[in-house]
């Protein structure tokens, strides 16, 4: 029997405090709501697992929010539900996102004991002035202490999330952050730019600033870096980390060889995954769906009797959609898409489908081709949405 692989994503939507730039599905909550949520989540895992008896879990990812606001005991309960209901591979990658301000040695040991084997720390910056500006609850010292504790607790696979393009940030700041981070030698680094999302407090501040700037006013204090300096930061990070022995495998992800995040790769490779918890997204067979996004509704749903009530949105991925996803997801990875895989997946030649766009993008210097691979160039990465959008218009 062929064993099918499955990734499992578990969403923990709680935070101690909402950061000014964050538009993820997260909020603060009472201990009582947290406990109710954990129990409902466990019921969902039980009910959903029935459909996955012939699957093996090879990745689990607890994301948020801040999963580490949960007690060690609660994480252990969730993990027991995972192990008790799914067939978990022995060497499965089991990641948990943690805010450095919410953990301590004791909690880390408990998480490790519960089966977590990979940590993703939301560090964001190695300078307290920047952490303060972002509204983070932790300090650099908190992080360093917990990083050490994590190693001691036996975590041998750690990711650090770092943010660039912060207000007032210079290339010098970025260099400092990255150099400090690299000293710790984490297995994985996620380096992404601050994104000003609508409906966040940052949006109001910086959109206004942007409008004033367009109106020709002088640069202000706390201004966001220019596009040009943002790209310089990005380029410097990429060069520096490659020098330090990291593989730049996706637009904003770097890993020591073999330490790429298997769970995230599933998203880009159109592999199957199940999402559990508030607003979590799933992709199984040819169906994408996502759960309810309102806590009250989620908690009140009668999961045992009417599991379908949990689903808010459902979409059948037809062939055209599948091809488009293949392209825009594949192009996010640094090695790009494989023409052979394209043919194997869809029974069509990449070149037949995309000839016009392909040549247009190549001639604009946004795409490059090497053997079987087609990928974004550096310029292409700069305007990736444009390039991906072009690949969406064809079919």
């Amino acid at each position: 029997m062929i064993s099918k692989k499955l990734g499992l994503y578990i969403h923990i939507p709680f935070c101690i405090r909402k950061c000014g730039y964050c538009d993820f599905l997260s909020f603060t909550a009472s201990d009582q709501v947290k406990e109710q949520y954990v129990q409902q989540l466990i019921r969902e895992l039980q009910v959903r697992s029935a459909a996955f008896k012939d699957y093996f879990l090879d990745t689990v990812f607890l994301g948020g929010g801040t999963p580490s606001v949960l007690e060690g005991r609660q994480i252990a309960e969730i993990m027991e539900a995972v192990q008790g209901n799914f067939k978990l591979e022995r060497n499965a990658e089991i990641t948990m996102e943690m805010n450095p301000g919410t953990v301590n040695e004791e909690k880390l040991i408990a998480y490790r004991k519960a089966g977590i084997n990979r940590i993703s720390f939301g560090v964001q910056s190695m300078q307290n002035k920047e952490l303060e500006l972002l509204g983070r609850i932790h300090t650099v010292e908190d992080f360093l202490q917990n990083y050490k504790a994590a190693r001691k607790a036996g975590f041998s696979n750690i990711n650090m999330d770092l943010m660039s393009a912060l207000p007032n940030q210079t290339l010098k700041d970025v260099k400092k952050n990255l150099t400090e981070a690299a000293k710790l030698s984490p297995e994985h680094l996620s380096c992404y730019g601050l994104m000003i999302e609508e409906d966040t407090p940052f949006y109001q501040v910086y959109e206004e600033q942007e409008l004033r700037r367009q109106a020709g006013e002088e640069r202000q204090e706390d201004a966001l870096p220019t596009e040009q300096s943002e790209r310089e930061m990005y380029q410097w990070i990429s060069d520096f980390l490659e020098e330090q022995g990291y593989v730049h495998y996706e637009i904003s992800n770097y890993a020591k060889p073999g330490m790429e995040c298997k769970h995230n790769l599933k998203y880009w490779e159109q592999k199957e995954y199940l999402g559990a918890g508030l607003g979590a997204a799933s992709f199984v067979g040819d169906i994408r769906w996502s759960n309810l996004r309102t806590m009250e509704e989620y908690l009140q749903a009668d999961i045992e009797q009417e599991p379908e009530k949990l689903v808010e949105e459902r979409e059948v991925v037809n062939e055209i959609s599948a091809i488009e996803e293949f392209m825009f997801l594949g192009l996010r990875t640094i090695q790009g898409i494989s023409k052979t895989e394209f043919y194997q997946s869809f029974g069509k030649e990449y070149m037949q489908v995309y000839q016009t766009v392909h040549h247009k993008m190549i001639s604009q210097g946004l795409l490059e081709e090497e053997g079987d691979r087609v990928r974004l160039t550096k310029q292409g990465i700069d305007v990736s949405n444009y390039v991906m959008g072009e690949f969406m218009q064809v079919l």
């Binding site: 730019g193 596009e227 969406m392």
Partner: protein
């Protein structure tokens, strides 16, 4: 059908300012005389096209015959001819009026006399029609029937004290209107035995019967087998069928004789042969001379129409040919644009006519169109003595070959309340208007006359007028003639390349302003590319305005978007939506709607 007594026929039309309730009154008359039961009534029976109902304007003339049993116990035959209600169709209106013996003037009890009320009633009086007024919308809270009655008597000078005070919408006092049709509108005259003399007031192409000619018989009789001659176009044909107008249907009858309104068919293939205003006579027994007033109407507004999808060019040609079967005033000829490919230069009676054709092409023929800026016919007097009638700015000869140019002017009448006179005069001044006169109709309202260049009013004059008068100004115009003028061709260069489809002719004094606004507008419309795109407006070799579309903004190097692929996909799809309908000019993609952006340059 038994012989009809001429004295029992009433041929009339209804004239009104737009929205004063002309079509609703027509509906009520039809309903009250029992031609249709209320259940069969669809609002505004005579407005056949969807477009007419939606816009609340009558585009084609229509007619209907109804039988009314009057209080004197006699049965009367009413022929109600519904005339088009827009200045673009003034000539058609005049021919419809010529087919009538009288007219009902509908005036809104709240708004009173408006510009089109005056224009239409004078037109009716010019045709020697007996006009009686009807005060409509008396059920409105703001209705002031007595004030409006006095106004009609003072301003127009027709008796109005016994005018029916009605609500066409609510069906109040419609009987009074019907009785006054009998008492105030004269019966037709004319000798049924004289040589045939009939006025064409409209025609319609039917795939089975050929052209259906709508006519009013002034003298003589027409029946099956009559050899008819159209006196202006010289077309001849043998009549196959004659009949009159039921509600939404054609009802054949034996013959049509002097005083009657009806139709005939004669296997005529094209409405070009049966032009509105032409006189129909018997080829074998012709009348001495045609009815007065025929003229061939010529388009006044021109623009390029291009299929959004170049492969649809033959479809566009077929569609235009089909529309032309029914619309002799629509003109088109093939043209080519570097930017837009193959298309047609089309001529229209006015901007409304243009919009109607454009909308019918899109709706009824499912075509996506790109329309270039509408323009008028300029007369270019060349140094060698030749005169060119210029409809496409791209064909303007080199300035060195031009002696001088002329542009068409109109005489415009604007009626406006006192407080907006200043704003309206400013507007006319901005549009290069020449002040003629102003007279107070009553204490609070004035009639302002201006001469205005036609090209200044074809785009958005009406909108500007409405917005500057808070909707209170009304407007009417007629052609005056050609006037010498300092005109220049304004070219638009996108990324240093001239885009022929964006060129237009403009008065020297407004070139800078127009050029600047054009550039601003295009800057909004053209999406960012990988490179900077200069947009320039130029007259000859001189650049007079410039804007720049900045290079594409770089995307944020976002964290991976987790498992929520659908959200990301929606984002990209939204981007893709905006990318549809682009035209490649050089290495710049221009959205199709940019070609129409020149239409909306008013600052408001």
């Amino acid at each position: 059908m038994a012989h009809i007594d001429q004295s029992k026929i009433r041929n009339f039309c209804i004239v009104a300012h737009i929205d004063h309730g002309k079509s609703t009154l027509a509906d009520r008359i039809i309903e009250k005389t029992g031609l249709l039961t209320s259940r069969e009534m669809q609002s505004q029976v005579l407005d056949n096209m969807d477009l007419e109902r939606e816009r609340g304007i009558t585009i084609k003339a229509q007619a209907v015959r109804i039988v009314y049993k009057a209080e004197d116990g006699e049965e009367y035959i009413f022929n109600l001819i519904d005339t088009p209600g827009h200045v673009d169709f003034n000539y058609e209106v005049s021919r419809s009026l010529a087919a009538c013996d009288g007219a009902i003037l509908v005036v809104d009890a709240a708004q009173g006399i408006e510009a089109q009320t005056l224009a239409n009633v004078y037109l009716a009086l010019d045709h020697n029609l007996d006009v009686f007024p009807v005060i409509n919308k008396i059920d409105l809270p703001s209705a002031e029937p007595q004030r409006v009655i006095d106004e009609i008597e003072d301003v127009i000078g027709i008796e109005a004290q016994d005018a029916p005070q009605i609500s066409a919408k609510a069906g109040i006092n419609i009987e009074q209107v019907l009785e006054q049709i009998v008492s105030k509108i004269p019966a037709p005259q004319g000798d049924p035995e004289a040589p045939l003399k009939a006025l064409i007031f409209d025609s319609l192409y039917d795939a089975y019967k050929g052209v259906i000619v709508f006519c009013r018989i002034k003298e003589g009789t027409v029946k099956k087998g009559t050899q008819v001659l159209m006196m202006a176009t010289k077309a001849t044909a043998e009549v196959v069928e004659v009949g009159y107008f039921g509600a939404g249907q054609f009802i054949p009858c034996e013959e049509l004789s002097a005083g009657m309104v009806g139709y005939f068919t004669a296997s005529i293939k094209n409405v070009k042969d049966t032009r509105v205003g032409d006189t129909v006579t018997d080829k074998n027994n012709p009348c001495a001379e045609p009815l007065p007033g025929y003229k061939k109407v010529n388009p006044m507004v021109f623009c390029g129409l291009y299929p959004a999808d170049g492969a649809k060019y033959p479809d566009l040609r077929d569609a235009l040919e089909k529309l032309q079967l029914n619309d002799a005033s629509l003109q088109f000829e093939a043209e080519t644009s570097i930017a837009l490919g193959f298309g047609f230069r089309c001529g229209f009676l006015g901007l409304l006519h243009l919009e109607i054709i454009q909308e019918r092409l899109e709706r009824e023929y499912n075509l996506d169109l790109v329309t270039t800026a509408p323009g008028v016919i300029y007369k270019v007097h060349k140094t060698n003595g030749d005169v060119i009638e210029l409809t496409n700015p791209s064909n303007l000869p080199d300035p060195s070959e031009i002696d001088y140019m002329e542009e068409p002017f109109v005489t415009a009448e604007i009626m406006v309340t006192k407080e907006f006179i200043g704003q309206i005069m400013d507007l006319c001044q901005e549009r290069r208007g020449i002040y003629i006169s102003m007279e107070y109709i009553e204490e609070t309202r004035a009639l302002i006359k201006y001469e205005l260049p036609l090209n200044e009013i074809i785009y958005d004059f009406f909108d500007a007028l409405k917005s500057r008068s808070k909707g209170y100004a009304s407007f009417d115009y007629e052609m005056k003639g050609y006037v010498q003028s300092s005109l220049v061709k304004l070219d638009i260069l996108i990324n240093k390349e001239e885009v022929d489809a964006l060129s237009f002719i403009v008065h020297e004094s407004t070139a800078y302003e127009r050029g600047r606004k054009m550039c601003e507008k295009l800057k909004e419309e053209i999406p960012r590319h990988l490179f900077e795109i200069p947009i320039q407006a130029a007259v000859g070799n001189k650049v007079i305005a410039r804007e720049t579309v900045k290079a594409m903004r770089k995307d944020v190097l976002a964290k991976c978007y987790g498992g929520d692929i659908t959200r990301k996909k929606k984002l990209l799809e939204k981007q893709k939506e905006g990318k549809k309908r682009m035209r490649q000019v050089g290495n710049v993609e221009i959205p199709q709607k940019a070609f129409m952006s020149v239409l909306k340059l008013d600052d408001k």
